[in-house]
Amino acid sequence: MGELKLHDVRFFRFMPKAIHSIAHQHTTNRVAVSRSDGSIEIYSINDNWYQEKLICGDAGRSVEAMVWVGQRLFSAGLHGDIIEYDMTKLTPKYAVDSYGGAVWCMAANNSQSTIAVGSEDGCVRLFEVTEGELSYSRAFKKQEERILSLAWHESGEVLVTGSCDNIRVWDVATGLPTLRIKVERLVRTRETIVWCVAILRDFTIVSGDSLGKTRFWNGKHGTLIQSHHCHKADVLSMCVSKDETLVWTAGVDPKAIRFEKVAGKDEGSRASWVRHNVAKRHTHDVRALVNTGEYVVSGGVDMTLVAMPVGKLGKQSRNILPFPQRRLVHVAETARTLLFQYQTRLELWQLGNTAAVSGMPDARLPINQEPVSLLDLKTKNMKQIVCSAVSGCGTWVAYGNAQHVRLFHLPKEEGVKVKVQRVRCLPIDLRPAHHMIFTHNASGLVTATNQGAVQFLRVDAVHPVLVHTFVPPESGAPPTPISALAVSSDSQWIAAAHLDCSVHVYNVKARKHQCSLPKHPSLVSAMNFHPTEPWLMVVHASQQFFEYDVLESEYTDWSRTVQRQGLHQEWLKRLEVVTQVAYNPANPTQILLQDQRMFCIIDKDKKLPRPGSQFYSREKLMRMDPAVREENRHAFAVCRGYRALLHVSFLEDGAELVAVERPIKAVTDKLPPTLSQKRFGT
């Protein structure tokens, strides 16, 4: 296929945030993960752990606990509000005061009609979930210490709370405690904190505390059944399997320990809880642990989300990197600049250059021009950025937060490095955006609004005009957010992929809906248009991809060939979702696909790898004898060796590639120190 010049960029200093809580939605098998900056990510487990939605956080909002009620998501935190989120706009819908200060824990009862909230003032409060609202119901009797953990019994009549030095069992009907279990202290002056509790159907209470002990209590009499001292430090999180025979605990000591209920040997003897196995998948404190049935999902200070399969041997656990599965890096192909999107600021860099024409394969070329930082743009009031874009010529930069879209003009002037002008008179009808992209000639900005529509803005330094708002065709169902957006290089077509798996293509000139792609059961994770033909390349979270002719409304011949032959098992087996796809502008038969661990260039002219044959990556092919290599090469040129690849794209001439990687080590080096443990010989 030839040689390409690859720019390895590692100066994007994006810092992901620690995981604070995880909540699982049972009916659709989704997981909501909250991070320390208040942002919430929603992953679809069924769809290859694709990060479907990202709700941006706010500086004044913390998320300590989350609860799903049906499809509705509630969160609460130390700022003292309970918030419901609008799952289409991906913003908070409304906030209800907790009436008790900071909220430490929250849980919904089994019938999902009531949410119990444990707060700083030592009161458990019940909130009624009604249609479109959350209404305060009543409060339990006040206790002295703050409530740090709570759990509902399956019947909904009993509630158990954990706080400093004691565990209380409450009668929900009266709001009075029926039992108080005192947890002993190790040092007389230091209180023991019960970080997590659970109550099982048979009224067994499981608690995890700051002494590192996992204890099983008889919830009727308040007697200790068993105590396991397995953790070296605080037990912060716990989850129970659906059939209540397995309990997992984890905490500051980052081991996840599994306890299994073992029936007694004889008929009459009592079942006991046995420490089963230990998994060490984290390096730092584990703050949240959730059982989804198939997996135990954990997350904490080390930011990685880990899904350990339950009970199935041989199924490997998954690590989901803490980087958003969306575009954080934008490349201006002509101007050779890079736009980095951080949580609350943007950075614009000029790419470096080399004088060398070519060198040894994989050897470094001498750099005669180092990359230069052009611009550092902070958002107002530290508002988090939802999306951003830079035009190909590098003269326009836009970003969107939860409320607004902002547009900046960077006119080129002699002698000045860069000059920024904010374009102030944006049309009133321009909605907040989830995705945005400039057209190829930088005359227009296409945004995906938070109501599932697509807006086309004619860009102008003085007076931008909103040309048209494309609304998806009526389907009866409410509009779903847009997960991917693409615009063709002649600016005639706009494609928008929605979270209900539909893909709509709009004709810009005719200002109408052109066609919709046949629905595939998996979500679209990336798509892009062919540079010259009206072809749309669509990549799904299930690793399938299709090329669709939007003019003829049919799959292209190559796409049919690929589907007929079937993709190679090795390709389908990959865990990461493709987050970006692009055609080589100089040679459109080459398609670039990128996920977080590799990028791959597919050559349409080459033969596809036969199912069952060996699937060689580029690195393996390179080590081969040229004759053998000729025999084994195939259309997929896979370049592995990355651990957190955030972006790969072609520059304008098609002979250069930019790969932006965030080395994991640079991220983990900045984490706080781990629990120091004495190891033999140190």
């Binding site: 040689e3 390409l4 100066f11 060198g359 409304s553 580029r618 370049c639």
Partner: protein, 651 residues
């Protein structure tokens, strides 16, 4: 008895479209999943989507599950009830298929193996598909009355023809009456078929029919929970009459979930078994229809999706159509007997062969009947009484390569040879051992028998080919070797130096051939703990001999390296054996004066070695310093500089 395997998902369905049905293709290996808008073909084995066709144009809607007619290699589906679409596998768009439009709406498409497809019109009359496609304008008479509504229909083979059974429902004032229309179609018969009617009486007046399935009788489930059997004896039925009233024979009362009026699905699995799924319960059950006992019950909670819409059976699979997914599970049924139902018969260990669904299909090895007969003959001491007959049968068996690659067969044969007291089938055993399929635990007594025959060549071959020899057995081999008469051994080619010039190096206490064999034993993998237990069994004279040999080996064995693992005894293996041996016989060694010189010599060697390693330690410190000072070698993986440009070659 019946068993079910765990359920696995074949495909998931978009929630927006309704599933119409699942039909088999190519003998059940593939299934056709039809929704209102699309037809998809999946391979059950690896859940792969093979083909998909979907409707593009507005207003078009599929109304029946698509069928695959293996005779004509065509897919058939109904569109908008009145259009029959026919196409082959290679068609790319459904819009280009062959279409036949009829005047009256068609309700069902049915297909029996080795017969043409059958159409059942809304009016209740069944027709052969070729008749209709040949002449779409054929006048079709309605069988049902106007008030009647077709609720269920199925076909079954009867003699040469096909019996189509349609059940219709007529809503009268506060009661419902159900009528079954039986219609026999003969192949090639193009006339309007005759029909017979049977009046089905519900078990009580208020209950409605939930589902039916067809065998010799018509099994039906009613909303009151009753399972009824209606006889379909055609002699009872009157031709074109009011219909003979057939009382339902209530077989069983099912415990239906309260309030569920619709969701029961039933499928025939065998002559006396049905698969049953109820709405509200996430399980699939197998019931025995003879005694109405629950035979097996399998939860569907592991599979995504909710509810059970319908059950299908193809071959050994039950296909479960759920609201958002299609799942499959394999089942097996055995004929029921009263004894089994009463729990008197001890259930034979019925295990389903676990299949690896993810990977490529495993080929299960089946011995041909001929080979298994030969194998039986070989295993039966009565049938092969002497060596010639045994070897003759074995040479016949050898022609089937499959047999000697089946571990079970090889193990059984080895057992037979080893335990056979009357003759010694050496050549057979040698061949069996050389297959490499034997392991130490699966062939007890093998070494003992070979040792008894004093066959050193075979013994050596066994040591080479038998896998995973337990430690106790290894020690027994050492014991045998130490006690072995040297005359039995042919002089080995192994170059063990017998005498060395230097004084302080001990000489080899064993003959070269014996030493070579012993080395082979020492090379085998072991665990030190088990070794020690077993070594305690050695007699003291053997211990001394062995100790001397190990002492010698310690001075001459090469240091451990990765290359020659398992071929040459390395120092650490010798040390392990030595430690275990000394540990096992420590007291005796200390107390016995004659062991003193060996132990002292051993200590001297160990001391020298320690000195040597201390020297290495110093060298290591020196080299480590050097490494710290020199700049690290930059490789691609470690390259963590912030920016670099390199050329990559794409192949």
């Amino acid at each position: 008895m019946a068993t079910m395997s765990a359920c696995f998902e074949v495909c998931s369905l978009p929630s927006s479209t309704r599933l119409l049905g699942v039909e088999p293709m190519c003998g059940g290996e593939n299934i056709i999943v039809t929704t209102e808008k699309s037809v998809r073909v999946y391979r059950v084995r690896d859940q792969k989507l093979l083909h998909t066709w979907s409707i593009r144009q507005q207003g078009g809607q599929l109304t029946s599950p698509a069928l695959y007619n293996p005779r004509t290699e065509e897919f058939i589906v109904l569109m908008n009830k009145q259009t029959i679409c026919l196409w082959t596998k290679d068609l790319e768009h459904l819009s280009k298929c062959t279409k036949v439009t009829v005047k009256k709406p068609i309700s069902h498409l049915k297909l029996l193996p080795d017969a043409d497809p059958i159409l059942v019109f809304d009016g209740g009359s069944p027709w052969w598909l070729p008749c209709i496609t040949a002449a779409p304008d054929t006048a079709v008479l309605d069988v049902l009355d106007i008030e009647e509504e077709l609720v269920w229909c199925d076909v079954t083979g009867r003699g040469e023809g096909v019996l189509a059974v349609c059940v219709s429902k007529e809503v009268k004032t506060d009661t419902q009456s159900y009528t079954a229309y039986l219609c026999e179609l003969l192949p090639g018969n193009q006339d309007t078929p005759d029909y017979q009617t049977l009046q089905l009486t519900p078990p009580d007046n208020t209950s409605t029919l939930l589902c039916c399935c067809l065998e010799e009788h018509l099994l039906s489930v009613w909303s009151c929970g009753s399972v009824c059997s209606h006889s379909l004896d055609s002699s009872l039925a009157a031709v074109e009459d009011e219909g003979v009233v057939v009382p339902g024979n209530v077989l069983h009362k099912l415990d239906l979930p309260k309030g569920g009026d619709s969701g029961v699905s039933m499928v025939m699995l065998g002559p006396h078994h049905v698969g049953l799924a109820m709405e509200g319960k996430e399980t699939v059950q197998i019931w025995d229809t003879k005694f109405w006992t629950l035979q097996a019950d399998r939860s569907l909670q592991d599979v995504p999706g909710t509810g059970v819409e319908k059950l299908y059976r193809y071959g050994d699979y039950m296909i479960v159509a759920r609201q958002t997914s299609v799942a499959a599970l394999s089942f097996s049924i055995q004929p029921t007997s009263l004894a089994a139902v009463m729990g008197k018969q001890t259930a034979e260990a019925v295990t389903l062969v676990p299949q690896d669904w993810g990977g490529p299909a495993k080929k299960r090895r089946h011995l041909s009947t001929e080979s298994s007969a030969l194998l039986q003959k070989l295993l039966d001491p009565q049938q092969t009484r002497d060596l010639p007959s045994f070897e003759q049968v074995f040479s016949q068996l050898k022609t089937d390569r499959e047999t000697l690659s089946s571990p079970a067969a090889v193990c059984q044969l080895t057992q037979r040879v080893v335990t056979e007291e009357r003759f010694w089938a050496r050549s057979t055993l040698a061949e069996l051992v050389e297959t490499g399929l034997l392991s130490g635990s699966s062939s007890p007594g093998l070494f003992e028998r070979v040792e008894k025959e004093n066959d050193v060549a075979l013994w050596r071959s066994c040591l080479l080919h038998v896998k995973d020899i337990p430690e106790a057995s290894l020690v027994a081999r050492v014991q045998y070797l130490l006690g072995l008469d040297d005359s039995l051994l042919e002089p080995a080619s192994a170059d063990v130096p017998m005498e060395t010039a230097e004084q302080d190096i001990p000489t080899c206490p064993l003959s070269a051939a014996k030493a070579a064999l012993l080395d082979q034993v020492l090379c085998r993998s072991y665990s030190g703990l088990f070794l020690q237990d077993s070594l305690a069994e050695l007699q003291f004279s053997q211990v001394m001999m062995f100790l001397r040999y190990l002492h010698y080996k310690l001075t001459s064995a090469p240091a451990p390296s990765q290359g020659n693992q398992g071929k040459v005894v390395s120092v650490d293996q010798v040390v392990d054996w030595l430690c275990a041996l000394v540990d096992a016989h420590f007291t005796q060694l200390v107390l016995t004066p004659e062991s003193r010189d060996v132990l002292l010599g051993l200590h001297e060697v160990v001391r020298q070695r320690l000195q040597f390693y201390q020297g290495l330690n110093d060298l290591d410190a020196l080299l480590a310093q050097l490494k710290d000072k020199s700049p690290p070698l930059v490789t691609k993986k470690q390259d963590e500089s912030l920016y670099s440009i390199r050329t990559i070659q794409i192949f």
